[in-house]
Amino acid sequence: MSNLSETQKSIEIPAHDLKRSIGSLVMWAVFFALLAMSWEGADMRPWDLIENAENMSQFASGFFPPDMSQWKMYVEEIWITIQIAIWGTALSIVCSIPFGILCSENIVPWWVYQPVRRLMDAARAINEMVFAMLFVVAVGLGPFAGVLALWIHTTGVLAKLFSEAVEAIDPSPVEGIRATGATGLQEVIFGVIPQVLPLWISYSLYRFESNVRSATVLGIVGAGGIGMVLWENIRGFYYAETAAVIILIIISVSLLDVLSQRLRKMVI
């Protein structure tokens, strides 16, 4: 018992670290200063929401009831959108496997992974929409331009995610394979890929979902799919039709989300 009270006496609550609390105050100050600074640039006018409430409710009422008379065409276009996402994702997975490995610092020397990483940064930094506009010029209007845009952008994203998975592997099985006299490529195929495969599949499915979402707007710049229909309806003030398209997009995107989540659970 004496032992216990002795240990209790020696316990002390750590004193407030002045440096750290000032540090966190400064951090918050900077954060709020940043918000205030950006107010004007972002043209923040919250009271307009209240002032123009009537106009907006009138605008919103134009969406109802949704006009589903052309649903067949919408569904066809959504299906094309999904097909754009399927091809765009598939091509980028194929490219991301080698690029992802060439981005990993535990597999290749710095003079390989640095340039490859910068290349992938470039592919990732530019939005799909920008690529789509460029490819529409290069290969003409239509879904193929959309596929190419998704392909390039998604390769940049997946290669980074893939390489992060590779950098987190357990190195000991790879060493076990090296010790048998295997080549470097064989070490990757038998030692690295089996370890990262579940994560890779999961990332790929996630990118497929988000590519379907991206593909719904690619049509706005003429790269095929439901986006084209959506844009025409909005520009023509056909709000009932627009509402119908939006509802169908929401349904199909949610369905795909559920489906890919199931698939992901199966592989992990």
């Binding site: 032992n3 216990l4 240990t7 000991s172 099985p173 060493e175 076990g176 394979i177 090296r178 010790a179 048998t180 006299g181 295997a182 080549t183 490529l185 064989q186 195929i189 038998f190 030692g191 089996p194 370890q195 495969l197 579940p198």
Partner: protein, 275 residues
Amino acid sequence: MVAIKVTGLSKTFTKGKKALNSLDLQIDKGEMVALIGASGSGKSTLIRHISGLMKSDSDNSKIEVLDQTIQENGKLGRGVRSARSDVGVVFQQFNLVNRLSVLTNVLIGLLGQIPRWRGTLGLFTRAEKMIAMKALARVGIDNLAEQRSSTLSGGQQQRAAIARAITQGAEVILADEPIASLDPSSARKVMDTLENVNKEDGVTVLVSLHQVDYALRYCPRTIAMRNGEIIFDGDSKRLTPKLLEQLYGDDSLELLGSEQQEEPVVTSLPEQAVA
């Protein structure tokens, strides 16, 4: 004939502290040799150098296995990949690929011998699969061939790793603390398997061990290390507790017998607080 020849091997991790200090070592073909020493004495470092997984300091050193140069003066030999395929390495943590089947893990042992493109694509012939299955049967786990290796117990995984070395056709097996993370009965099975491969196939075995009693039971010759130096090399029978105490001082307790090891001797602070 000489199986392993090490001359002048040094390794420095942090400046001024040598993990290996100018080691010389020779092991003949067909020997089964134990390598003992307390943790941090350089056993693993030595084995990783002999298998070419680690490079030595760049002074006058040379490691040869079966007359092939593994490394010389801190540079891996030119034929290190073909040399590696003659050396099977068994690790403390088994180093199998968890998500692959036991059979595939064992087939990986053939990668150094079959045409590169076929190995890379993972196309193994029936005859090759038979070799792997025979190796698995020999270590007594052929019934587990189809399972993922992660589903096996530690002892079974270690035997699968030995099967990989057998499949590899290794003439030398380097085992780095193969039984350190196993229970006593699994440990015995693993050591029996190594002994069997040594006696029946004439494979040279160098096995690092934490505990002297296994060395006495299985290996006619023992090499004892301390602080990166060899302090004893000879007949295992000469390693009496008295000699061990002379060699290691207080550390000799750590090396004596697995049975004493199981009971933690150290009384830790939290326990005192509870009492």
